[in-house]
């Protein structure tokens, strides 16, 4: 009799939960996207996970959920988690250009140039062949592939990628940063400085707080180093021009 009472109570509680919070995967995912746009990454993760909880949702919904979670985890500084989400995404559908591109960027950041190059190559090939949904920020992925090539000492493919990145979006800072690094490898310090100045200026125009980010700090250090290399006053670089 006691077990019957307990089972009835638990059943009633379960029914209440389902009635008050009816399962709505599509709505949860829409709210997760809004939360990501608003910068609320914890809510984005929670809602994106809730959308596919208990094995609900179609394949497209599960892919979207994993993609959102990967982006949120990456923004929260958890590259390992982002990578595992992307691995799961690619296990579900091996033709996801975005997943390859994101995983390639993460691997590049983790210092795995060979793996990054393979992922970025595959992602860019899939993106070029994709019809309908275009991939935004393609210039940055060309630039990242160039960085991977540069890390592997392949100067000519890196230069080609820098050209592709700048053609894709001439105002994208990463393309110019890549060009600067290529010029640095070729020991053309003046050209390297000009490209680095341009890259930093474009990044700063896109985001006024870029200089406070870890990437901004790295770029700034390199810029000062290049100014010193070119015997330019690092504090007042344009004095006398």
């Amino acid at each position: 009799m006691k077990m019957v009472r307990i089972a009835t109570l638990l059943g009633a509680l379960g029914t209440l939960v389902v009635l008050v919070w009816p399962p709505a995967p599509a709505q949860d995912l829409r709210l997760a996207r809004l939360a990501y746009r608003a910068g609320d990454l914890d809510q984005c993760l929670r809602l994106a996970r809730r959308a596919v909880a208990l094995g609900r949702g179609s394949l497209a919904l599960r892919l979207d959920s994993l993609g959102l979670r990967a982006r949120a985890a990456l923004d929260l500084g958890r590259s390992d988690m982002a990578r595992s989400y992307l691995d799961r995404m690619l296990a579900l559908d091996p033709n996801q250009a975005r997943a390859y591109l994101m995983r390639g960027s993460i691997r590049l950041r983790m210092g795995e140039a060979t793996g990054a190059l393979a992922d970025l190559d595959r992602g860019l090939a899939l993106a070029a062949g994709a019809k309908g949904r275009s991939i935004p920020f393609l210039a940055s992925y060309y630039a990242r592939r160039g960085m991977a090539n540069l890390a592997l000492g392949r100067l000519e493919p890196a230069r080609r990628d820098a050209g592709l990145a700048r053609r894709s979006d001439p105002r994208h800072p990463e393309g110019h940063q890549l060009s600067s690094k290529i010029e640095e490898k070729r020991k053309r310090w003046r050209e390297a400085l000009i490209e680095a100045e341009l890259a930093f200026d474009l990044a700063q125009r896109k985001d006024s707080f870029f200089f406070t980010s870890s990437q901004g700090q790295r770029w700034m250090k390199r810029l000062v180093w290049l100014r010193l290399k070119n015997k330019v006053d690092p504090i007042h670089p344009f004095r006398g021009q």
Binding site: V17, W21, G39, D40, Q43, R46
Partner: protein
């Protein structure tokens, strides 16, 4: 099995139950959101009840610890409940980071979904939104306050008997002078 009716058993039993209940409600809180005041009321009433039903001791039999004692124990169990909630919340997260979540909410960079019923000027309306920084702190203090009050007043029985027990025999009236 004989029940241990010492005060120590009440304190430790309450602590373990507060941790377990906190973890369960923390896990639910992550997935469903915080039902302000209702969560505190449920936890504040469920914990003394569970302590009486499942715990090693009926608190009433251990005697009333006095006002300061009841206050201190309610505070201690509330702290254990909060620790349990952090644990449950962390276990529900994709990776265990309850303090990181709280710090982001306090900094206004994240939010927690809260819902409840609010009354302003006699008009009642449902409330369902993301709470952050100061507002989140106020709502949590409100919820915790309700739980604290329930823990303080519903655990103990001043007469030294639990509800199901018979009252101790009344003292025999003094013999009337013949």
């Amino acid at each position: 099995m004989e029940r241990d009716n010492s005060m120590l058993a009440v304190v430790v039993g309450g602590m373990l139950l507060a941790l377990a209940l906190g973890a369960a409600l923390g896990w639910l809180r992550y997935w469903l959101g915080l039902f302000v005041i209702a969560q505190g009321a449920v936890a504040g009433l469920l914990l003394p009840w569970l302590l009486g039903r499942l715990g090693p001791c009926r608190p009433a039999l251990a005697g009333h610890p006095g006002c300061a004692g009841a206050l201190g124990l309610a505070g201690f169990w509330s702290a254990c409940f909060l620790a349990g909630q952090a644990l449950g919340l962390g276990l529900a997260q994709p990776w265990f980071d309850p303090l990181g979540f709280v710090s982001r909410v306090l900094a206004g960079r994240s939010s927690e979904f809260v819902f409840g019923v609010a009354a302003t000027g006699g008009i009642h309306r449902a409330l369902a939104q993301g709470a952050r920084d100061g507002f989140w702190v106020v709502l949590n203090l409100l919820d915790l306050g309700i739980m604290f009050i329930f823990l303080m007043v519903t655990t103990w029985n001043r007469e030294g008997k639990s509800k199901g027990q018979a009252a101790p025999p009344a003292a025999a009236p003094p013999e009337a002078a013949s």
